[in-house]
Symmetry: C2
Subunit: 340 residues, 2 copies
């Protein structure tokens, strides 16, 4: 088993221990265990794990261990961050009306919106309950401050994302602000807290915060690229799914930015339809090609990746960052090879 | 101005200061200011305050001041508890589909369910952001633990309440557990933290926790009584509103407990209808009268009130609890005089 795998197992175990510690036989907790990917909808353990990639907790633990920090604190912080991420997913699925996640029914689809709101709230609270277990009062204080600031940005990002649905004129700058808040900030905080919990140094930890933020921007734009051009066998997403759902992702915002007034008008007309046709999707795909949007998107994602990678290289002499480097590269290759 | 009024003004000011500290011009924060009762739906200040009674923060501050505690800490804890209460109201309105609160449109009704989920989440987070301002690490640690435990119970209570809607056979004991979690616990924690922030004594603070729990039970059952027999001019509620909405409140659960099999069957039949008629409401009202449910409910509420009041009397020699006594009595009289 490689080292990344070893840490993933430790994280998964601690997530389950923390969940158990603050749960009881009420079905509410079955719903959250289902969402976390541990049981099926009847509460039976799954033969195959169905949760997410645990990328944020993994980054938190890796940087902590690179500095020889307390693994116990790192695993608790990692749990907190992953529960936070999952609270936002449960509420996000309600807000977007998404019926599936990781090829399984979403919580609201199975148990209704009212109980799904409770499940999200319960994971939200769990994120703070886990913090009560940190070893030092200073770490607890800093974590509470960082995590609440992160959640605030995340909710603001979610607010913006939803507000974009009703607007045609979303500018690239606004879009970048939105993903920085909604996605990148949590990556930044994962690396900041992982580092701080090991070295208790704010200045160096802020550097890793920047590293995380840039990786997060790369991650989101890459995800947006996959939503249009991804190989659905590899991504598990519906082919061209984001176009059919009229999602305003990076390539689309970029297309609107590059398009002529006439092209922009045509896209707005398509969005005004209640149901899209094959020919509408074709038009958008052709426009994307005409304006070389795929290339622009890839280059933008790449630029963020490189910024992030540069910070790794800067600190490589000070501390062994080989596992984070491996993880980053894996992701980079996965994304740049899984386009159809 | 009397002393209760003076504290209410201090609380309102601190709530607004704390809200401002963690807000920005994003409309999301206008939505939460609207919910808190400070502005109208366009963001203009209201000529008349439209928020709630601020009962939980008031209890927190009163007990803290009775022990000559730090007013600054008390006001921050009070803010945290009131934001917590309001997060739960915003989500509760979505879950129940309630269109009005305090005679104003609810957040989801004005800005849609997705943004209302964000507003609730944002107040949820604000409850923890405020805690970062407490003066001592010990108080911060204890508050984080107590508040997360309280939120857990609150969400469990909300889970149970929603699950009761789909069941006819809800037992009195289950109902009491539900309101203890959903309502009473927050009163208990308000008094616990108010006391602890002043005297830093866990044992005596637990006594006030009990006082708050009993007052909270009284408060909820009294509210349930008002939902059926309250004078709508005084309560601001729809006359017989809870009966029309088929709400399973204390008097109804009590009626099911006291009713004959035949009567119970008849009530279940009424609930199975999609729309109730005047005669259905009459049947239930008559059954309530036959079984003397109003009297039983009043007596149960009174018993909890007395338990709570007894704890006041027990500590009266140690500390001046006259303002809490006044507040409790005001509530008691308000409720027992506002029945139609």
């Amino acid at each position: 088993m490689d080292s990344l795998q070893k840490y993933l197992l430790l994280i998964e175990r601690r997530l389950q221990e923390n969940w158990e510690r603050f749960s009881n036989p009420l079905p509410l907790y079955l719903f959250s265990a289902y969402h976390m990917g541990w049981v099926d909808e009847s509460g039976n353990p799954l033969s195959e794990f169905k949760g997410g990639k645990r990328l944020r907790p993994l980054l938190c633990v890796l940087i902590n261990q690179a500095f020889n920090g307390s693994l116990d604190d790192a695993l608790n912080l990692a749990s907190s961050l992953e529960f936070l991420h999952n609270f936002s997913l449960v509420h996000d699925d309600i807000q977007d009306g998404d019926e599936k996640r990781h090829n399984r029914w979403t919580v609201w689809r199975l148990w209704g919106v009212p109980q799904a709101i409770n499940v999200g709230d319960s994971l939200f609270n769990l994120c703070f309950q886990v913090l009560t277990q940190l070893s030092s009062p200073l770490l607890q204080r800093i974590s509470l401050k960082e995590i609440t600031n992160t959640i605030q940005e995340l909710i603001e990002g979610q607010y913006l994302d939803i507000s974009f649905e009703k607007r045609n004129d979303v500018y690239l700058k606004e879009y970048m602000t939105m993903i920085e808040k909604k996605t990148a900030r949590l990556f930044a905080t994962s690396l900041f807290l992982g580092s701080f919990s090991a070295n208790y140094k704010e200045d160096i930890s802020r550097k890793f915060f920047e590293m995380g933020k840039n990786f997060g921007m790369f991650f989101q734009i890459a995800d947006d690229i996959m939503g249009i051009w991804g190989d659905s066998r590899k991504t598990g997403k519906t082919p061209l799914g984001d176009l059919w759902k009229k999602k305003k992702t990076f390539p689309i915002i970029c297309l609107l930015h590059e398009a002529s007034d006439k092209e922009r008008q045509k896209i707005y007309e398509i969005w005004n339809k209640s149901n899209l046709l094959e020919q509408d999707i074709s038009y958008i795909l052709q426009a994307l090609e005409r304006k070389r949007v795929k290339e622009i998107s890839f280059n933008t994602a790449k630029k963020f990746f490189e910024k992030s990678y540069k910070i790794i290289e800067e600190y490589e002499e000070l501390v062994d960052l080989s596992l984070i480097k491996e993880l980053f590269k894996n992701y980079y290759n996965l994304i740049f090879s899984s386009q159809s």
